[in-house]
Amino acid sequence: MKNILFIIEKEFKQIFRNKAMLPIIFVMPIIQLFLLSNAATFDIRNLKIGINDNDKSTLSKELFRKIASSNYFVLTSIPKSISEAETELDIGKIDIYLEIPPNFEKNIINKNIDNDNTIYMLFNAIDGTKAGLGNFYLQSIIGDFSGSIIKYNKSIYFSPEEMIVFKNIGITYSNWYNPELNYNNFMLPGILVLLVTMIGTFLSAMNIVREKEIGTIDQINVTPIKKYEFIIGKLMPLLIIGTFELIFGMFIAVIIFKVPLVGNGLVILSFGIIYLIACLGLGFLISTTTDNQQQAMFISWFILVIFILLSGLFTPIESMPEWVKYITIFNPVKYFIEVVRLVMLKGSGFGDIGRHFLIISVFAISLNSLAVMRYKKTNI
């Protein structure tokens, strides 16, 4: 037991003597939270749109105005034809092309349902998210528009049957737990998780493998110190730093970035500690399968990139293919991101996320036992 303390003391000395370490611990979270929370937003504004109004009627001008004055779009061009629009899409002058058919107003007023009165839209879908959101925004503007025709244009009378055709179904909605759809609130907790994951996995993988690489592990191995004492002594300081990082990051998120903390921070903290133990176990496992820091670095990256992309932070897991969803079951990052969002934004307590606690504990135990087993095999 005393030996663990000696190793912890030695580790802390080494960590804080490393001049790169303090900036990593204190500056990295601030930069990451600041940079990523502002960059990694799904809120798309200023989509470049070109509108071709072939009708030039009151109604079509009304629609034109509605779209052009929206925050989401900037009118950058008024193409005369679809071929002109295609050229402009090619050179990037516009992202979206919208064409209002001739006789648009006439068809509506005459209730010419049989005539084709379709609004034509063209999207630059190189960036799928951008195209999808642009489509969504336009649809809602047009839907809104068609609704307003019925409501306010008293000059046109619609029978109830006709109203169904035009109005379709009105949708009203409200966003619970994040009413303003603030992407900071959504992203920051997730980025916090990434931070803790990186500290836990990278530092532990590097730390143990470094002793192997420099040869210091030989000198330690011939002492009476037990394997488990050495490993606990090495992982404990990283657990402490990681926990500190989590608390520090949460403070920044809540105080500087004003992310609401609806639930209890202690729930996140206790989950975070178990999660960190799992991460440390992963790093430890990586270090037992590698001989030098370079290998450890690459393997950590390989695993973490997959974990992060399949974590639901950037793309919702629900929209992933079935087989990928099964893979995400084995992704610890996913569970912590869910927990942080649930607790911070929704206010879930221990009872609500018991399943998450159970799963992450299984991760922590199995990763660490696996690592210990491998470690025993490769060393006496």
Binding site: N3, K13, I214, G215, D218, Q219, P224, I225
Partner: protein
């Protein structure tokens, strides 16, 4: 009583045989030298004794304990200094020393008298990071750390490699002092001239032990007539000597070529004449006494010849 008993040890790395059926017994309180060139298997053998590796065959007892089943007992009483500097470079001299003292459940003060001679030389730099010490000082620190828990057995893997001649001499004097304190020392070295510092030595080559004896015995057992040859063109002379059909073995040694004839009795001037006939100039030929290196070369050459014959 033996402090190290190595019985029929073989160790393989994949297809490479590092050690082949090694048998060595090291007596309590002696300095035992393991002497051989790079790649002979010295480090592997020391790491096996240090409980850091597991052999494929045979058994090793260190201080009476089996290196596999009782490694924990050995580690308490063993001092090990690896060939590569393996202390924490970012910790200071005193921090390294204190760390190893505390892991062994002792303090620097308690065993200070044991390391005093060595440590006092680096004590002025005790707050310097170990990585910033000179080569000789690193080696003294490593030895201090290996001694801090008062080990009964000291394993030193090429402690003098890369160390200047003066420091090497000093180092061997320190080992003699440690021996006088009753510590058994097992040391490996590629330097033949260090063999005379040991009580007994073992020649190791390509994973096999060639000979085990005291340095004096090894030299007195050398019963060949050894001739040192020197000329203007050493390379040509060496090639010419190799063509002699009375040759037993020949090898360059410093500025001379050492030559042994297969005949017991013959005249040196005969060799001289042949060399002159072959166009060598300024030839110097003399009968010399063998040193440890000659003994090692003989063992190696004779074995190699036997292999070719078989």
């Amino acid at each position: 009583m033996y402090d190290i008993e190595i019985k029929n040890i073989s160790k393989q790395y994949g297809d490479v045989i590092a050690l082949n059926n090694i048998n060595i017994q090291v007596r309590k309180g002696e300095i035992f030298g393991l002497i051989g060139p790079d790649g002979a298997g010295k480090t592997t053998l020391i790491r096996l004794i240090a409980t850091l590796l597991v052999q494929n065959k045979g058994e090793i007892k260190a201080l009476g304990y089996d290196t596999i089943s009782q490694f924990q007992e050995i580690r308490n009483k063993l001092g090990y200094m690896p060939g590569r500097f393996s202390l924490y470079q970012d910790l200071s001299v005193i921090e390294n020393l204190e760390l190893f003292a505390s892991i062994f459940g002792t303090t620097v003060e308690e065993n200070y008298n044991l390391i005093k001679d060595i440590y006092s030389q680096i004590e002025p730099f005790k707050n310097r990071p170990a990585g910033k010490l000179s080569g000789g000082m690193k080696q003294k620190l490593a030895l201090s750390c290996a001694l801090i828990h008062k080990p009964e057995l000291l394993l030193l893997d090429e402690p003098t490699t890369g160390v200047d001649p003066v420091s090497r001499k000093e180092f061997w004097e320190m080992l003699s002092k440690l021996k006088n304190m009753g510590i058994t020392i097992f040391v490996s070295t590629p330097y033949m001239d260090e063999a005379s510092r040991c009580d007994r030595i073992a020649f190791i080559q390509a994973g096999e032990i060639l000979d085990i004896a005291t340095p004096d015995e090894i030299i007195s057992n050398f019963d060949d007539k050894l001739i040192a040859v020197k000329s203007d063109n050493k390379y040509k002379t060496l090639q010419d000597l190799k063509t002699l059909n009375t040759l037993r073995y020949v090898y360059p040694s410093g500025e001379y070529i050492h030559y042994v004839d297969s005949r017991k009795e013959y005249s040196i001037s005969g060799i001289m004449e042949i060399l002159e006939q072959k166009g060598n100039t300024n030839i110097e030929l003399k009968l010399i006494e063998p040193n440890i290196e000659d003994c090692f070369m003989k063992e190696m050459m004779v074995r190699a010849n036997e292999r070719i014959i078989h």
